[in-house]
Symmetry: C3
């Protein structure tokens, strides 16, 4: 999530009421996810297991619950509860404002784009030229849609991500302040759900085609010219490279990377990174050749 | 389904035109499902296999197609077709009345609750305080929603249950006259479907969090603080105890009981009751440790 | 897709600007899919692997990218790109016309049929008597619904099929110009997606019952009195015969034939034709008895 302009370390520390390590005028430009973070941005970390990853990431500011040594050219925000304070920062900049009409006044819609009846479009949404948005689609705040895009009926773009912290007696939601970006020439089927990023963008790359009833989790990036069949589910923070083909009802755990042109066969359950150009099958998924050999072995044994 | 007040055995028998065994002023308060039935309520049974279960349930009145001995303190309604006559009773008390506006006039909505555009709300719905109902949600008649609940776009609460009797040349639907209850602090993602109870309530317990595209069948009860990932399907009449975690695309057959804090891994297919506190995997699901050992065994054999 | 009246071979050739083999006044009545094509209709074929199948099909006209010998009583349309030219013919006869109101003026709705709020109904839709269309359903152009049909909330009838040609640097969509036919006494649950045929009709046969979140692909035909549980996915061009039962989350690859009264157990992944009257399980699916024996064998080996 980008701030409207840069804010100083001191200002951000004052918003969440915490101490900091670094120059008070250290400039900060936004918040982001660990796998997507860029210079000038904040990540949060609250588990010792991930301290090193966060401190050595591209983040310039680490919101952390331990007084560690500050890496060079970076700054720290010291909090007893980084999760709560990350929410506090995001809340300060992005407010949920209820909307009582189907299409917000500030929507930018390109030429020749058709918006069918029953479509809801939230605030600060941009839609390019030559798109068709079919009936009863929901497009939440800050979604960006390129040119020549088709979104079929009942699909929801930009729902809040499924990301909770277990507080013992209850779950606390990590507020979603990212968005969804649909690039040029993408087509998305009916009744899909593509969640907005928690702080980054969930992206469907140029020319990719999605069938019906597909779930794409928060902050996941789908590359260009991917083909995704019906009822596939991809959890949050995944990176699917270009020209990947995914067949019906396959599922992906969170934070995985799938190499270019990989093929994932129907109903596979993917729990690890997959290599480029190979074909996978099974739950848990492995190389299709191996999996089919295993199935043949078992068939013989049962005889 | 609760009657508006108690009715006598004689009156109910007259509604369906059948004989009865018991005192004519025996009081009846409603109809219910076998796994949820309480004193004063009717269950129906039409297969000898289930006669004993129905006669020894907590039901006070058994609508049955055989002249059996009446258990003490109970009553019988004798019908040649209990399924048809159960529908007849439910039909008598709960009528489907078409509604031509998006939000029924009799809806009770608490303070600070936000209803976004395109939301349909049926008759006799109650929604508590501090809720957000996102665009294009459908909330059917008699649904009860607690405080601080979030329902994301496209989700349908209170659709009719999938429960049919095979009549040989056609299927006959068991009419749905129960409802959906969403307790406090529940959050439900986009494009989920939570069916109303056939006669009881489908319940999502306090503080539970559901991701997108999830199916919850009629009369199923989800406990408190459960976490259910995207594309999970739970059939009707299940009891999921508190703090159960269910990962993506797992499926559950009907009428199962899942013990507290059980963990069901992604894509598991659950066909039996599961114990509390254990982790399960596979289709059909078994203890994850066992299943993983089996998979390793097969991998070795195939080499 | 039926033409409004018959057109000559010469006329169709002029629409796409190609040569032809056959009498110039050879009458053509429409376009169709290879597994559904009838006399007087055009199919297209652009891969040598399928030339023979197309030339020996019931099609009277084959749109083909090779100058082959013309079978007796047939005609050929010779194109360097049959896919593009098939789209061109379909485009010529069926145009997408945007609609700015929820219910098109030309809809035919039978008596006692209830249309609830938030429902979108496209052009040339016919709905029979005694139907209930629940809130927020989307019914696209040319859909035909029989009598006594129930469509629950959020379901989309007639979305465009998922059918693309890989053009190397991009995917090209095969335009959908077929429709959806829902026969008498069918009931469809919430948030299902039933795509229209590419050129034929996607059909749900008389008395079949579908649960929630089900995907039915383009040009698939579901027989009479089938029972399909939640989250099942059936790809395009399948033929499911009468009285088939399919349990939750099962998936079917495209172009399969499933015999009458077959039973497909939950989460099965069907990649081949299945025989009538048998029970199947597993991914890939095989006869349930065999599959269960394999699972038992593996369990023993792992001990």
């Amino acid at each position: 999530m980008k701030f409207p302009h840069s804010f100083t370390l001191k200002k951000i520390a004052s918003i969440i009421g915490c101490e900091y390590v670094g120059k008070e005028d250290f400039p900060i430009y936004g918040t982001n996810e660990i796998h997507r973070v860029k210079e000038g941005e904040i990540v949060f970390v609250d588990h010792p297991k991930y301290y090193a990853k966060a401190l050595h990431s591209k983040a310039s500011v680490v919101l952390i619950n331990k007084k560690v040594e500050c890496p060079e050219n970076k700054a720290l925000l010291l909090s007893d509860d980084p999760f709560r304070d990350f929410n506090k920062i995001n809340d300060y900049f992005v407010k949920f404002i209820p909307q009582n009409k189907l299409i917000s006044d500030d929507v930018q819609i390109g030429k020749n784009t058709i918006i069918q009846p029953g479509v809801y479009i939230g605030k600060n949404v941009k839609i390019g030229n030559d798109c068709i948005i079919f009936p009863n689609v929901t497009i939440h705040d800050y979604t960006e849609i390129g040119n020549n895009v088709v979104i079929q009926s009942g699909t929801v773009l930009g729902g809040d991500g499924f990301y909770y912290k277990n507080r013992g007696s209850y779950f606390e939601r990590l507020k979603s302040v990212g968005n969804v970006i649909i690039e040029d020439n993408v087509e998305i089927g009916s009744n899909c759900t593509i969640d907005r990023g928690v702080t980054a963008s969930t992206i469907i790359g140029k020319g990719s085609k999605l069938d019906n009833l597909i779930q794409i989790g928060h902050d996941t990036v789908i590359g260009r010219k991917c083909l995704i069949a019906s009822q596939v589910g991809i959890a949050g923070c995944c990176t699917i490279h270009d020209e990947v083909s995914i067949w019906g009802q396959a599922g992906f755990a969170s934070s995985l990377t799938i190499g270019e042109k990989a093929i994932i066969l129907a109903q596979s359950g993917v729990s690890k990174n997959l290599k480029a150009g190979k074909t996978y099958f099974g739950s848990p998924a492995e190389e299709a050749k191996k999996k089919l050999k295993e199935l043949a072995t078992l068939k013989n044994l049962a005889k």
